[in-house]
């Protein structure tokens, strides 16, 4: 039989696409791994979707997800056309993508490798033989009248995905698992733009034929928060693998949710499919809304229809999708133009096989990068940070890299770096709604600042001030700011003593009062001797044989003599 042909149209680089940064949209979803009780069901994520009223039966919600992730590849799944977001309409369309008669699909090796990689990362069994099928339906943005997918025998099956959520008032972290039913390779469709005014439909085929990974999860979830957490974790995994950019705002990650409710112990209820979920936040909202809707519907004696619903993010509710009302029969059929996709492992690899023509699962396994869960464990272990800090570092796009760059360049304690990155730095970003990549402060500047702090060249309070300056005037070295603003601590003991003496001499009355008996000056620092509380130009104390100086220049009046 014919051997499947593989196209080698990929580059080694994972991030070859110069995309406009849309990090700010990520930000809206970034906190979801550590949601603090936002979800209506967050208190009881295990099985009950709603606290039962007295006398009423409990409800349990069952949520399954189908996630489409656009494969990050240079060319499409079956054609050589380029994959690029926001290109001029119909500028990335090969003859095959436009379904010109006589054109044939040629499988992109990069897409297969991405699927295998993702399958391995999700602990799937990789099928050494998988098949392609045609799924038929007529739609303007599906030029061939069918989508090539893997219905019968997908490339990966039976995996699982672990995720952590916080429960209870203590925000106790628990780890759960959702089963991965299968991962299949399939083609994306084009885009239809409906101009209702002129009753026209405009079709853009740039996206038609782009490789998708459809990840089908078993219905192991029970609320919007769990779903959101799982999707976020999957997003991080795909991004770590480089198999998908997984940016929901650009449609690289699309989620459909199947939702049903039932009484525990009874058969599952009729499910609805919720589509049009283009952010993780809306995903959680839509699922929770749909669960509540179904419960109220049933409690009011209504019934749930097996229908497709769309989430209206403006109204915050799900509504039936009109154009999906007719029952579809997709008339699946084997794709006759593609031989079975054969993969090999080290035991089945034929001797003398051309590495360009075969895909070795074991070799791909060896190249798997560190996965988010492993990264978090490493961060906790290596830097002694709290687990939730590791989550935050991973959830914010670019934050981990920023953190690691700071760590690399500074002598400051990791815990200090964590605190500065997660509190100060992230706080500034959030306040101004910026992505990490948009930060005016580069990692090197923060590292330098932390070094100054570490060597006690400046005080903690001054460091905050320097940071603010860094933020306002990007590019200025921290040391320069320190000297310009005279924020440095006095290192010369004699000069300091002289200053103290001058102060004491200049305020004989206060000194006299002090001598009469110690008085609390309100300062938390240890005070070596009775020192007047006002004015307080400098203090010093001694620990472990060296002097530690604190600047006591007040933040509000930095230029005061």
């Amino acid at each position: 039989m014919a051997v499947p042909t593989l196209r080698c149209g990929f580059s080694g680089s994972r991030w070859t696409f110069a995309l406009v940064d849309r990090g700010c949209r990520h930000r809206t979803v970034a906190t979801f791994n550590w949601i603090r009780g936002q979800s209506s069901v967050a208190q009881q994520p295990l099985h009950t979707a709603q606290k039962p009223r007295k006398g009423a039966q409990e409800w349990a919600a069952v949520v399954g997800l189908e996630i489409h992730a656009q494969i990050s590849s240079n060319s499409k799944l079956f054609s050589g056309a380029e994959v690029r977001f926001a290109a001029p309409p119909n500028s990335l369309v090969s003859f095959f993508d436009a379904s010109l008669p006589g054109t044939l699909p040629v499988l992109n090796r990069r897409c297969v490798e991405a699927a295998v990689m993702t399958g391995l990362a999700l602990n799937c069994h990789i099928n050494q033989k998988s098949l392609f099928d045609r799924k038929h339906y007529f739609y303007a943005d599906l030029p061939a009248g069918y989508q090539i997918t893997q219905q019968r025998l997908p490339i990966a099956v039976n995996g699982n995905l672990a995720y952590s959520i916080c429960v209870g008032k203590q925000q106790r972290e628990i780890t759960k698992t959702v089963r991965v039913k299968q991962i299949q390779l399939e083609q994306d469709s084009g885009k239809s733009l409906h101009d209702d005014l002129r009753s026209q439909t405009l079709v853009d085929l740039n996206r038609a034929g782009v490789g998708l990974l459809e990840v089908v999860l078993e219905p192991d979830l029970s609320c919007g928060e769990e779903a959101a957490t799982v999707v976020r974790e999957l997003q991080l995994i795909l991004q770590a693998l480089g198999t998908s950019q997984a940016n929901m705002a650009e449609g690289q990650l699309r989620v459909d949710a199947n939702v049903s409710v039932h009484h525990p112990g009874e058969p599952l209820g009729v499910r609805t499919e919720v589509k049009n979920l283009n952010s993780i936040r809306f995903l959680a909202k839509a699922i929770d809304y749909e669960i509540q809707r179904q419960i109220s519907e049933l409690e009011n004696g209504g019934e749930i229809l097996n229908e497709t619903r769309s989430f209206d993010y403006k109204l915050g509710c799900t509504v039936p999708m009109r154009d999906k009302e007719g029952k579809q029969d997709y008339r699946f059929m084997p794709e006759p133009n593609l031989p079975p996709l054969l993969l090999y492992d080290s035991t089945s690899l034929p001797a003398g096989a051309d590495p360009q023509q075969v895909i070795d699962i074991d070799r791909i396994r060896e190249t798997l990068p560190e996965l988010p869960s492993e990264t978090r464990a490493r961060l906790v272990q290596q830097y002694g940070m709290l687990p939730e800090h590791s989550f935050t570092l991973l959830n914010e796009v670019g934050l981990l890299e920023f953190f690691q760059n700071v760590i690399k360049e500074t002598r400051a304690e990791p815990k200090k770096v964590v605190s500065w990155v997660l509190n100060t730095f992230l706080g500034y970003l959030k306040q101004q709604n910026l992505a990490v990549s948009e930060s005016p402060v580069p990692p090197s500047a923060l590292a330098e600042l932390l070094d100054l702090l570490h060597t006690r060249a400046i005080s903690s309070a001054a460091a905050k001030q320097v940071f603010e300056e860094l933020w306002k005037s990007p590019g200025k070295p921290p040391a320069q700011i320190v000297s310009e603003k005279q924020l440095g601590l006095l290192q010369d003991r004699e000069a300091l003593e002289e200053l103290c003496r001058a102060t004491l001499d200049g305020h004989p009355q206060v000194v006299g009062a002090g001598r009469r008996g110690p008085r609390c000056c309100g300062h938390r620092r240890p005070v070596p001797s009775a020192v007047p509380s006002l004015p307080l130009p400098a203090l010093y104390y001694r620990t472990q044989g060296s002097y530690n100086y604190f600047s006591c220049r007040r933040d509000s009046t930095p230029s005061e003599p």
């Binding site: 014919a2 003859f95 379904s99 010109l100 044939l104 029969d329 008339r331 006759p336 133009n337």
Partner: protein, 527 residues
């Protein structure tokens, strides 16, 4: 010169006895002369002359590209050709000019072949008569041959042209084009016999290569899992030359086999005593005409008398082939035709009330009844509730049919010898008494199982019937033993000495075309 074989004319070109431009002009003149045959849908005169000019320059510089340089060829109008309308004889694709060449077309052009035009067919290659295309039926050149006319005592064509014969199909245009000497080789396509059937009716070699040997990229599909480009020529050696150019892996067609392609140059067999020829008993059907049956038996005797082992073999699942084919073919047709929605290319109706209404009207206007009927059946078989009962079962039967062949070849048989068609070509008026489906089912009976199994098969014209019409027999070989098959076919061809079509009457006033030739008439066969 036009009456020669491709190999002969290739030699003449190399020797400078004729120039590509002369050859091209003569063929173009003959195409015009034989326009009434309706063999061509599009004649690419201008492009062909340009190609001839370029070829001539190469010959002058002594830089000929090979055996095909300067050779006029024709291509069935279901192969995509850059800049040349490709219609599939359907309203749906009228005016459709592909932006790319099918791989096989490109390979011919790369070898310097001159593309004379695109040949007629049944709409989307669905038929066995070349009668069901939107451009009208193709007429069999043998209708106008001396051999046929003498037997029939026909009046001259101008007075009575109602009894012309069909070419068979669906590659009837390609068969007529080669048979009428308007080109030296033509591409057909073969899904259930579409190359071999018209070859049998037009007295030509019609070769269906092993599935996977020749690229389908650019061939507008009928049944992807059975389609192969076919080759029509006037002798087996010519087929081997063309096959040598076309065969091989195509990165654009994942179903083509990898690895180096052996040369297809055919040795001349002198001894067939080591051969084992299988005669499948299931092919002896009551509908088989006595004349074909007798020729088949004579052919077997010939092998036998030359020392070959001839044995009866069984292909027990043959009788299910037609029904099985019907399910698989229509299912793939339903799928393949889904792309014709009027949006990206091809016909689009004027209705714009809704997308659905536009689809429906476009497709009703674009497809003929045969195509629409097959789409309807195919979609029925693919429905979720029917899929197991029809499509899956048909696939299983297909496997059984393919295994039948494997078993026979494993039992020591080298080549199978069968009839190609039930009888010789029939007159058009008789042919259209039955509908397309009935005709296809009858006419594909000996050819179609081969497509299910992906095997190479070839029609070899054997003799003229009592009516003076060609009768062909089919040789079937094991998968990817194309060269071995053609070698046997070549030996057989030399034994039977099939007569050349005599088209003098047709060519009477064509003297200007042939005036300068040393050959007195196109009927002269060079041996």
């Amino acid at each position: 010169m036009l009456g020669r074989t491709l190999r002969e004319v290739s030699v003449a070109l190399k020797r400078g006895q004729v120039t590509p431009t002369e050859l091209c002009q003569k063929c173009l003149a003959l195409i015009k002369k034989t326009k009434f045959l309706n063999a061509y849908i599009t004649v690419s005169e201008e492009a062909a002359l340009k190609q001839a000019e370029a070829s001539e320059k190469r010959y002058k510089k002594g830089q000929s590209l090979g055996d095909l340089d300067g050779i006029p060829v024709a291509v069935k109008d279901n192969f995509s050709t850059t800049g040349i309308e490709t219609t599939c004889a359907s309203n749906m694709l009228k005016g459709y000019v592909p932006p790319y060449n099918a791989t096989v077309v490109q390979k011919l052009l790369d070898q310097g072949a001159l593309l004379m035009g695109k040949t007629n067919l049944d709409e989307f290659a669905m038929g066995s008569g070349s009668t069901d295309g939107v451009f009208g039926p193709v007429k069999n050149p043998w209708s106008y041959s001396k051999q046929y006319r003498e037997k029939r005592k026909q009046k001259p064509r101008d007075e009575n042209d109602s009894d012309w014969l069909i070419t068979g199909g669906s590659s009837g245009g390609s068969a007529a084009a080669v048979s009428a000497f308007t080109c030296f080789a033509a591409l057909g396509s073969d899904t259930g016999g579409s190359t071999r059937n018209p070859a049998a009716h037009c007295g030509l070699i019609g070769f269906k290569p092993s599935y996977g040997l020749v690229s389908r990229h650019g061939l507008i599909p009928l049944v992807n899992s059975m389609d192969v480009p076919g080759i029509l020529t006037r002798c087996v050696d010519d087929t081997a030359i063309v096959l040598g150019v076309l065969a091989g892996h195509d990165p654009k067609d994942s179903t083509t086999v990898q690895g180096p392609v052996n040369s297809f140059l055919l040795p001349s067999l002198t001894d067939v005593s080591k051969l084992c020829i299988g005669i499948p008993k299931e092919y002896l059907v009551p509908e088989l005409s006595p004349e074909v049956r007798s020729l088949w038996s004579k052919a077997a005797d010939l092998f036998d008398s030359e020392g070959a082992k001839v044995k009866e073999v069984s292909l027990p699942h043959t009788c299910y082939s037609i029904v099985c084919y019907h399910v698989l073919c229509t299912s793939e047709v339903a799928s393949n035709m889904a792309r014709f929605d009027g949006l990206e290319y091809g016909h689009r109706c004027d209705i714009d009330i809704s997308t659905e209404a536009m689809y429906a009207t476009t497709r009703r206007e674009g497809f003929n009844d045969v195509v629409r009927g097959r789409i309807l059946s195919g979609n029925f078989f693919l429905l979720k509730e029917n899929y197991e009962d029809y499509f899956i079962k048909a696939q299983k039967v297909r496997r059984l049919i393919a295994n039948d062949f494997v078993n026979v070849f494993n039992s020591g048989v080298d080549v199978l010898l069968t009839p190609t068609t039930l009888r010789e070509a029939v007159p058009y008026l008789e042919f259209i008494q039955e509908d397309n489906r009935t005709r296809s089912a009858q006419d594909d009976i000996f050819t179609q199982a081969v497509n299910m199994a992906g095997l190479p098969a070839v029609n070899i014209p054997v003799a003229l019937s009592r009516q003076g019409l060609p009768i062909g027999l089919q040789f079937i070989g094991p998968a990817f033993c194309d060269q071995q098959l053609l070698t046997v076919a070549k030996w057989f061809e030399q034994q039977v000495q099939f007569p050349v079509i005599q088209l003098e009457e047709l060519m009477d006033d064509c003297s200007s075309v042939l005036a300068n030739e040393k050959l007195a008439s196109v009927s002269l066969k060079q041996q």
